[in-house]
Amino acid sequence: MRIIWIIAAAWSLAFGPPAFAQSPPVPVQAPPPTQDGSDDDQLVVDVTGGRRAALPIAIPFMPSPQAADTPAGNTQALGRQVAEIVSSDLRDSGLFTPIGPSGLQAVSFPQVTAPDFPYFSTTGAQNLVQGFVQANANGSLTVGCYLYDVAAQTELTRQGYVVQPRDWRRAAHRCADTIFSRLTGEGAYFDTRIVYVSETGPARRRIKRLAIMDYDGANHRFLTNGQWTVLTPRFAPNQQTITFMTYQDERPRVMLYEIDSGQTRPLVAGAHMTFAPRYSPDSRSIIFSMAVNGNTDIYRIPVGGGTPQRLTSAPGIETGGSYSPDGSKIVFESDRGGSQQLYVMNADGSDQRRISFGGGGYATPVWSPRGDLIAFTRTGSFRIGVMAPNGSGERILTSGVYAEGPSWAPNGRAIMFTRGASAGQLWYVDVASGATRQVRTPLGGSDPAWSPLRD
């Protein structure tokens, strides 16, 4: 299951001439003597221009140097599907308007590194993604991915991915990640997985199963059989385990699921109710809530088990803890002030400070992977919002329909959440633009948790 990511330099030598050989026509006239970087003695022109819109990008089908059958299908068919996945990923981000693959002129294998810029400039695209799919002698696949600037007629980046045939979709997502990061400056997030609670059946006898799928809904599978209701799944940052809460015999308990082995075990021994688990950034411990003698507080316990360490002690319900990305602080919700509000404390439980003061209450706080924002559910109106870790700059991102349970994308730019009180659907919202889009899931679902980028 391991993918080998290689830097393109090596294989580009074998593949063909580097694309930078396709730089703009060489000027035939000698320019005047070069001046140094100083522009004090130069003509200076100021230009201001740009717009907030989706970026038009052409993505033609990816050719194959030689058609070959693989366990994942023929390389020519794979080239078409890889281009479609890249196009779909970029479109779903809301930041791109893909042109193609259908309707674009075919690209031959040699043209992958020598694009027909005049043609693509007529499509209205500002950037161009080309690539290829090649079957290797050892049974693996090589997917090449090239990004060009159409106007400047230059190559912006290239990557090559050697994958086992079963992982060909991941190569497509990685290509899309490369394009996205290079053109937006943001971190990648397409080569990720989502664990969520799949909901089927009538409302009064809803079957809730833990399910996992790729970011785009592919490779969907269930992790639990629906015998027990499950809630609030969370990915470990190292992606080796998933923690979640289950109602077994009407009693909430935090469980730990090992992804490779499929084994499940309780996180905490004993009969107390435990819920609302989240990992520490180093994946070594989990904070969770435990009700002891009628008082619910936040505790921390090593992933491997042990004695829980109590972090809060105020009367009332303290729950929903979430670490800052550097692991130094924890945001949580508490009703100690009379209503559900957000508080921040040091990771050892000291220096607890209230950061939210709005009416109606706040719940399910989640610290952004960037560390700059905390997402939350505004209870009462059930909307998703963000605020700075000191409580300033509160901004509501969703409107209208019931929404709850935010989970950050690994790049900290988008938030996935549940929309709809019953028969919920997964949606995500771009934090910068506020644009929302539904996540493709085979079934209705809730409580999404976005994995980190895959290794």
């Binding site: 000698a30 970087g37 740009g50 907030r52």
Partner: protein, 259 residues
């Protein structure tokens, strides 16, 4: 009052009445007075030339004229260098590009070599009818014309012309994210005489970077380059101000996103 006095008074009154009528009729027929002067177009320049724009005396001898002579030809006095043909622009100035696809107007206008200050009085006016004259000094007729200087007015005109041509491509660029508009990217641009790029645009520096927008720095640099290259080659810049000090052969563009 005797009769003679009465007659005199009557004649005087009649004369005044006639004079008044004549003047009134004359004013009525005169119409609106003509404007004293035609409206003068004034353009504001945001910079002041540090160098005088007036032609400086040249140590070089006045060049041969290439314009039709307006005076009588002195048959008895052949030119001192008759073997020198009439200056052929294509010989004197290297062709900008052999590419046949190059639009003709992208080629530099023939610049007779050596047509310097000494000729200005003879040909003044012809070049100024060219809409691409850009307020140039009539002496700046050659790419290497002695005394060719980028005046503040010419610099402003050329700057406006470049901005006007680059603006459509700048407007097409997509803002990558919040705070990216605080980044100012400074490019060094080197052009051929035909307005095409002589070298890849080079980013000199970026300013306005902070922790929030640093992630967009590389992308904004891409956008700045794409904004220029997308509308390259530039058209209609004055050939005589190509490689003068502060000429457009090598200039600086500051680019930023709006907002």
């Amino acid at each position: 009052m005797d009769r003679a006095e009465a007659t005199g008074i009557g004649v005087a009154l009649a004369g005044h009445a006639a004079l008044l009528a004549a003047l009134a009729f004359g004013f009525a027929m005169a119409g609106n007075p003509p404007a004293l002067t035609d409206p003068m177009e004034v353009s504001f320049v945001d910079e002041v030339g540090l160098v005088s724009a007036s032609p400086e005396p040249s140590a070089e001898p006045a060049a041969l004229s290439t314009a039709p002579e307006t005076g009588p030809v002195d048959d008895a006095a052949p030119a001192p260098a008759p073997e020198a043909p009439r200056p052929a622009p294509r010989e004197a100035v290297p062709a900008p590009s052999p590419a046949p696809a190059q639009p003709r107007r992208a080629q530099p206008r023939p610049a007779p070599p050596g047509a310097g200050a000494g000729e200005r009085t003879r040909r003044a006016g012809l070049g100024d009818l060219d809409p691409r004259s850009f307020g140039r000094d009539p002496a700046a007729r050659s790419s290497r014309a002695p005394g060719a200087v980028m005046s503040a007015q010419a610099a402003a005109d050329i700057g406006s012309a470049i901005t006007r041509q680059v603006q459509p491509c700048a407007d097409r660029q997509v803002d990558p994210g919040p705070g990216a508009n605080r980044i100012v990217t400074t490019l060094n641009l080197r052009l051929n005489r035909d307005g095409s790029l002589a070298a890849r645009p080079r980013m000199v520096r970026q300013s306005g970077l902070d922790d929030d927008n640093r992630r967009y720095a590389q992308r904004v640099a891409d956008i700045a380059i794409a904004a220029f290259t997308g509308c390259s080659p530039l058209r209609g810049l004055p050939a005589e101000l190509y490689d003068v000090p502060r000429g457009w052969s090598n200039f600086t563009m500051n680019y930023r996103l709006p907002g």
